[in-house]
């Protein structure tokens, strides 16, 4: 009970501190604007009138997932390391709270603080689409696309962004993360062995493909690790979401001992 309450306290305050960060909002707004105005013919703005709202909003969610998570990964990269930098590590270690609760709270707080601007972007997109498609169902589908396409990838990114900087440094992690993002999500698997198009893409390729009824990006395209590239569909989308969530657990489990090690060498 105490652990749950403490986790909740950390979540609330991490969220509060993060959501006040101007960099979070500036990054989100900049990337969203860039994506909106640079989208190609396959982008949601060019979908013909009468396109089902499900496809429109899934397309928006996928478009935003191209770059927004990079910004979120950057912003979240210092959440566990900054306590030491700020001189709060000793105090936190002296409080009667387990490191597990601390890590869980920081994870949930960080995740929700990035989920809010991500959701807001989709809401704005839905509002913009409603202006000329006149279909209130767009908002409902924005919510669905957010949960299926955006959120699992965010959960995955937040876990790694929180923990990896404990192994390297926040700046090095940020550089590696950008490289990974393009290689693991967008690099054509035909050109170079990559994770693009597999179930392991945090971009949300499989769920978006399922919602759109046609290949969103590379989901299921032939390439490296063929067994991770099933035919897209409902089951594959669920498998992709489950895999991303499952993959978020190992880094989080490692966070406590890593944090302990780091604080002891303080």
């Amino acid at each position: 009970m105490t652990t749950l309450r403490q986790t909740w306290a950390v979540t609330r305050y991490e969220f509060r501190m993060q959501i006040r960060k101007r960099s979070l909002w500036i990054t989100t707004a900049t990337l969203a604007v860039v994506l909106t105005f640079s989208q190609g013919d396959r982008g949601p703005r060019h979908l013909p009138p009468g396109t089902p709202p499900r496809e429109v909003m899934a397309s928006w969610a996928l478009l935003m997932a191209l770059l927004l998570p990079i910004g979120f990964g950057m912003v979240l990269a210092d959440r566990l390391t900054r306590d030491r930098r700020l001189g709060l590590a000793s105090l936190l270690e002296s409080l009667p709270i387990g490191r597990g609760a601390l890590v869980a709270g920081k994870y949930l707080g960080g995740l929700t603080s990035t989920a809010v601007p991500a959701a807001l972007v989709l809401l704005i997109a839905a509002a913009g689409e409603t202006a000329h498609r006149h279909d209130p169902a767009l908002f409902a589908w924005a919510a669905v696309a957010f949960v299926l396409v955006t959120l699992p990838g965010l959960a995955f990114v937040a876990a790694f962004a929180l923990v990896c900087p404990l192994l390297t440094t926040a700046p090095l992690f940020r550089a590696l993360f950008v490289g990974y993002w393009f290689w693991g999500n967008m690099l054509n698997p035909d050109l170079f062995p990559s994770l693009t198009g597999t179930l392991l893409t945090p971009l949300g390729d499989y769920p978006a493909t399922w919602l759109m009824g046609e290949r969103a990006l590379y989901a299921g395209a032939d390439g490296w690790l063929q067994f991770l590239r099933p035919e897209p569909g409902g089951a594959a989308a669920v498998a992709a979401i489950a895999l991303l969530l499952a993959l978020s657990i190992p880094p989080l489990a490692l966070a406590s001992p890593l944090l302990r090690r780091r604080n002891l060498s303080a």
Partner: protein, 289 residues
């Protein structure tokens, strides 16, 4: 809560920070004096359950810090102000205290708010409470630090050099505040400043190189310098033997006060030592012994 430490060792690689330290702290306000690197912070981190000892036993209020349950039991009743405590710049003072209070397990919202209000009053930050911590001065930050330590009415308060870097008036206010809260609890105060201890603590321990070299009433420290404190008026540089504690230029020459086991100069006269000279004598005996 009383503290009983026996044979405490803590090493960092090749560095021995605590070297078989024995100490018993009964209660009330207790000073911990020592030079840079003596091991004060390491000792306090061990007491706060932040660092595990390499060897030895530490019991606080009967709880063994080596066990997880013991550590948690102590941490629930502990207030700790670390040396160089940082604060979250993007929270207000009130929010920061609320956060620490929640982590200390103060779950009753109304009671927590009331306590935070009282503590903010006590440390003179009531007006600054809604302001972001990023704009706080060094003294204000220290006061937030002591307020967070006192949240939850701890039985043991461990404060690591709380007066370093404060202006004289603020320093006096701060140590008086510490002395007032010592009623009914144990307050362990570490400092380099002999005067802080002299004004607030009845008993003190003095550490050098990871050991306790003195443990007892503050007044007894003075005795350590009796017979080894000298005054000398000279024109040239200070004598080569002994440690110069003060040097004041006057029309008739420079007045030196120094601590030395042997008469440093034929013209030197023995004088009544001060607390500071007692401390210097002690550190010197420790360094040579």
């Amino acid at each position: 809560m009383d503290i009983q430490i026996t044979g405490l060792r803590r090493t960092f690689g090749k560095v021995t920070a605590l070297d078989g330290l024995d100490l018993t702290v009964p209660g009330g306000m207790y000073g911990l004096l020592g030079t840079n690197g003596a091991g004060k912070t390491t000792l306090m981190r061990v007491l706060a359950g932040v660092l595990p000892p390499t060897a030895g036993t530490v019991r606080v209020g009967g709880h063994d810090l080596a066990t997880r349950t013991g550590r948690l039991a102590v941490q629930r009743r502990l207030g700790y102000l670390p040396q160089d405590l940082g604060l979250y710049p993007d929270l207000s003072a009130r929010e920061f205290l609320d956060y620490v209070g929640l982590l200390k397990g103060l779950d009753d919202t109304a009671a927590r708010r009331r306590q935070i209000g009282e503590l903010l009053d006590m440390v003179g930050l009531a007006d600054a409470a809604p302001r972001k911590l990023r704009g706080f001065s060094g003294g204000m930050r220290r006061r937030v630090g002591i307020a967070q330590a006192l949240l939850g009415d701890p039985a043991l308060v461990v404060v690591d050099e709380p007066t370093a870097g404060l202006d004289p008036e603020e320093r006096i206010r701060f140590r008086t505040l510490l002395a007032t809260i010592a009623a009914g609890r144990t307050v362990l105060l570490s400092t380099h400043i002999v005067e802080d201890v002299a004004q607030t603590c009845r008993d003190t321990a003095v550490m050098t190189r990871g050991r306790v070299v003195f443990n007892g009433p503050v007044a007894d420290i003075v005795q350590r310098a009796e017979g080894v404190t000298w005054e000398l008026v000279g024109q040239g540089p200070p004598p080569a033997t002994g440690v110069v504690v003060s040097a004041v230029s006057r029309p008739d020459g420079t007045h030196y006060r120094l601590v030395s086991s042997a008469r440093p100069d034929p013209r030197a006269v023995p004088v009544q030592p001060s607390l500071e000279e007692g401390y210097v004598a002690l550190m010197h005996a420790g360094a040579n012994g």
